[in-house]
């Protein structure tokens, strides 16, 4: 045995080194995903799965097939609202990327004063999302919030953004912009330091300047940064659970709820683990489709470059 191990050391060693992370990954990521999908085909209230009822049937755990999905898609009036809100998050959050890029380019100037200004722009990224949500809740607060004061200063009728069903989601997304822009900006700032000056010089000799220089020389070199910024922003937007939970609790009357928040409510507060898992599975599929599409495009691009 030991002889065999010694002989094949190089082949076997990597598995030993990988084992801890593989075990943890399987236990905490793969297994919960599979179990969630399995749960989504059941009606389960989150209590002991094996508990027997009076007539010997399983009391808390019942196979319902696709019923959870059927109810969610055809019967649940909140599902389209949640999905639409997710879509709003997804589309609007993409605005973060050009804004972050713009700020990064602005801050990337070699002026001495920039050293003092830069940290101010990093600041929102350092704050926890929970705190950001609280700050913006106060910012929007009717009557006593700053926004209300600003509206009244200009003689406008104040709007209680978080109390309006049509506006509340946009108000939360706007709050999400603050830390998200800071994040993409940081990614682009590091990306900009890696821009190859020789290529820029070559471009200048060839007569590129201004927009054409930016579009044809700088931006392609920032592609890795764009990739990370997009993935992180979009995944963050699809999760977007914490801000909704703190700023509106999904309200007014569920109009700002997103799938992640609905999943949390159904599973933990309505005692419907099966239904919550069905929502989780759908959300998982949406993210998967998006990420696969994104990776596909990325590989295509890289192929065409080669």
């Amino acid at each position: 045995m030991i002889k065999y191990l010694k002989k094949n050391q190089i082949k076997i060693a990597p598995f030993f080194f990988l084992a801890p992370s593989i075990i943890l990954f399987v236990l905490y990521v793969i297994y919960p995903i599979i179990d969630s999908i399995w749960v989504s085909f059941h009606s389960w209230n989150g209590m002991d799965r094996g508990l027997l009822g009076l007539s010997g049937e399983l009391k808390n755990w019942k196979w319902v097939g696709l019923d959870n999905y059927k109810e969610l898609i055809f019967d649940d009036y909140t599902f389209p609202i949640n999905l639409l809100n997710n879509l709003k998050w997804l589309v609007l959050s993409l605005l973060v990327i050009p804004i972050g890029l713009g700020l990064a380019i602005f801050l990337n100037q070699n002026i001495r004063e920039m050293k003092f200004i830069k940290p101010l722009f990093f600041f929102p990224f350092v704050i926890n999302l929970v705190v950001v949500s609280l700050i913006f809740t106060w910012f929007y607060m009717p009557k006593y919030g700053i926004l209300d004061l600003i509206f009244r200063f200009f003689g406008l009728e104040p709007i209680a953004f978080l109390a309006e069903e049509t506006l509340a989601t946009y108000a939360i997304i706007f709050a999400f912009f603050w830390p998200a822009i800071a994040y993409t900006m940081i990614i682009y700032l590091t990306g900009l330091t890696n821009v190859n000056t020789e290529v820029v010089e070559a471009g200048r000799i060839d007569g590129a300047s201004g927009i054409s220089m930016f579009w044809n020389v700088i931006l392609p070199q920032l592609r890795p940064a764009t990739f990370i910024a997009t993935v992180v922003t979009v995944v963050g937007a699809l999760r977007s659970f914490d801000m909704v939970a703190i700023m509106t609790k999904g309200g007014p009357w569920g109009s700002t709820s997103v799938l992640a928040y609905k999943m949390y409510e159904e599973a933990l507060f309505s005692y419907r683990m099966g239904y919550g898992s069905a929502i989780a599975t759908i959300l998982f599929l949406i993210m998967d489709i998006y990420i696969v599409w994104f990776l596909y495009r990325l590989f295509q691009n890289e192929k065409s470059e080669k």
């Binding site: 236990l27 905490y28 297994y31 919960p32 995903i33 599979i34 179990d35 969630s36 399995w38 749960v39 389960w44 989150g46 209590m47 002991d48 508990l51 009391k59 808390n60 009036y77 929007y140 607060m141 009717p142 009557k143 006593y144 209680a160 953004f161 978080l162 109390a163 509106t248 609790k249 999904g250 309200g251 007014p252 009357w253 569920g254 999943m263 409510e265 159904e266 599973a267 933990l268 507060f269 309505s270 005692y271 419907r272 683990m273 919550g276 898992s277 989780a280």
Partner: protein, 413 residues
């Protein structure tokens, strides 16, 4: 989600294995949700008094955050049951009784004399004729109002619906918002619904609705929503309440911009902290129809023995300790609530004394919307009520939606 739960329970089991080595015979483990500093202090003082009365018992208290506790209890009752768990009476308790997770403690009710001394709250602790816990505190709901504003305008505490509407109209006319409310956390709207329905249709119909036996489209509810909509359409409620938490909605009342707030007695410390409690007084939610009993919301906090408890003998002693009227009184009044123990002295605090009077003469005691009905039902019900408060004309659609939920939750077609 389910997977995470399972792993969580696994971790809990591991930690139990560890702790069970250190726990000796005569150890009583109590899981408490009393995380507010004041409530926590009072609970610990009570437990200390018990410990002194029973020097042979070694008491261990695990403190949880109040909100976290609501989720954690489902895990620890199964994976790592303490000897005593704090929880709520009514439907919240019934859920665990149905799961076989709470111990029948009817014998303690018998031996400690609770059947007599706590008869007022007995119903809320009873399932199929057996008691599954002992109440240690309950508190009144009602209308808290700015007495100084009422006095300035020459208004009195309204005794019936017509007077209540008159008071609202007068306040509104004088530029004061009659009723403040913050519905971001939804349940405040349910408080209004409970009272409107109990005053119009009485306790029994309200309970039928909570238990899923009556329909949200029942014509008897028309009157409830009509009367409520009348107040809403007259602009008697604070604007933009959907954006405010219940605490934030106290500010207009402290500033004198609003005059009344339908709330539980736990709100009083906020007025004390603002240094204006002298300007605040309380009245019972006014009568709407003669002949309808004056039922009250009085959420009840309780002690339970989990079925899996290791030291049930000492846990029973802990429950029976509530028969001590002085300690029962201290535990309740320290939290600003009332003790269900009828042998205790009447509270001296002005709000508690009024609550005591109202609850002793109440026709029936309800627990509150989100404790009386199924969790799955109130998850849809409370947003519906909030929506109604902002868009009263959507009531038809809201009610048919809620009834659909009711049919699904209670499996009645």
């Amino acid at each position: 989600m389910g997977g995470k739960m399972k792993i969580f329970s696994f971790v809990v089991v591991l930690t139990t294995l560890f702790t069970s080595f250190v726990s000796l015979a005569g150890t009583l483990v109590i899981n408490s949700n009393q995380s507010d500093p004041r409530a926590n202090e009072v609970m610990h003082a009570y437990i200390k008094a018990f410990d002194e009365a029973h020097p042979d018992i070694n008491v261990v208290v695990n403190d949880f955050d109040t909100e976290e506790y609501k989720v954690a209890i489902r895990n620890f009752l199964q994976a790592d049951p303490p000897d005593i768990a704090i929880w709520f009476a009514g439907n919240r308790m019934k859920f665990f009784v149905d799961q076989g997770l709470f111990e029948d403690v009817s014998d303690v009710w018998e031996s400690a004399g609770f059947n007599d001394s706590m008869s007022a709250t007995k119903g809320a602790l009873t399932v199929d004729g057996k008691q599954y816990g002992v109440p240690y505190g309950y508190y009144q709901w009602g209308v808290y109002y700015r007495k100084d504003i009422f006095d300035d305008l020459g208004l009195n505490e309204p005794r019936n619906w017509e007077e209540f509407k008159w008071v609202c109209a007068m306040l509104k006319k004088n530029g004061v918002t009659p009723v403040t409310i913050g519905t971001r956390y939804l349940w405040t709207a349910a408080g209004w619904f409970d009272y409107m329905n109990m005053r119009v249709n009485g306790y029994q119909f309200h309970m039928d609705l909570m238990n899923g036996d009556a329909s949200y489209e029942d014509p008897r509810l028309d009157d409830v929503f009509d009367k409520w909509a009348e107040l809403l359409n007259a602009g008697y409620f604070l604007e933009n309440h959907a954006a405010l938490s219940w605490q934030e909605a106290i500010t207009p009342m402290i500033n004198g911009e609003a005059a009344m707030y339908l709330m539980g007695n736990f709100m009083v410390p906020f007025f004390e902290d603002a240094g204006m409690v002298d300007k605040v007084d309380y009245f019972q939610f006014p009568r709407i129809y003669k002949g309808v009993g004056m039922a009250e919301d009085a959420p009840t906090d309780t002690f339970h023995i989990p079925s899996g408890a290791k030291n049930k003998e000492d846990a029973r002693k802990f429950l029976a300790f509530l028969a001590n009227p002085e300690e029962a009184f201290k535990l309740a009044s320290g939290n600003g609530v009332l003790t269900p123990n009828g042998n205790a002295k009447a509270p001296s605090d002005r709000f508690q004394a009024q609550g005591f009077k109202v609850l002793s003469s109440a026709s029936d005691i309800a627990q509150f919307y989100d404790r009386d009905t199924h969790p799955d039902m109130h998850a849809d019900g409370m947003p519906g009520l909030q929506e109604f408060m902002v868009k009263p004309n959507r009531i038809g659609a809201i009610r048919s939606r809620l009834d659909k939920t009711r049919k699904r939750v209670f499996s009645k077609n």
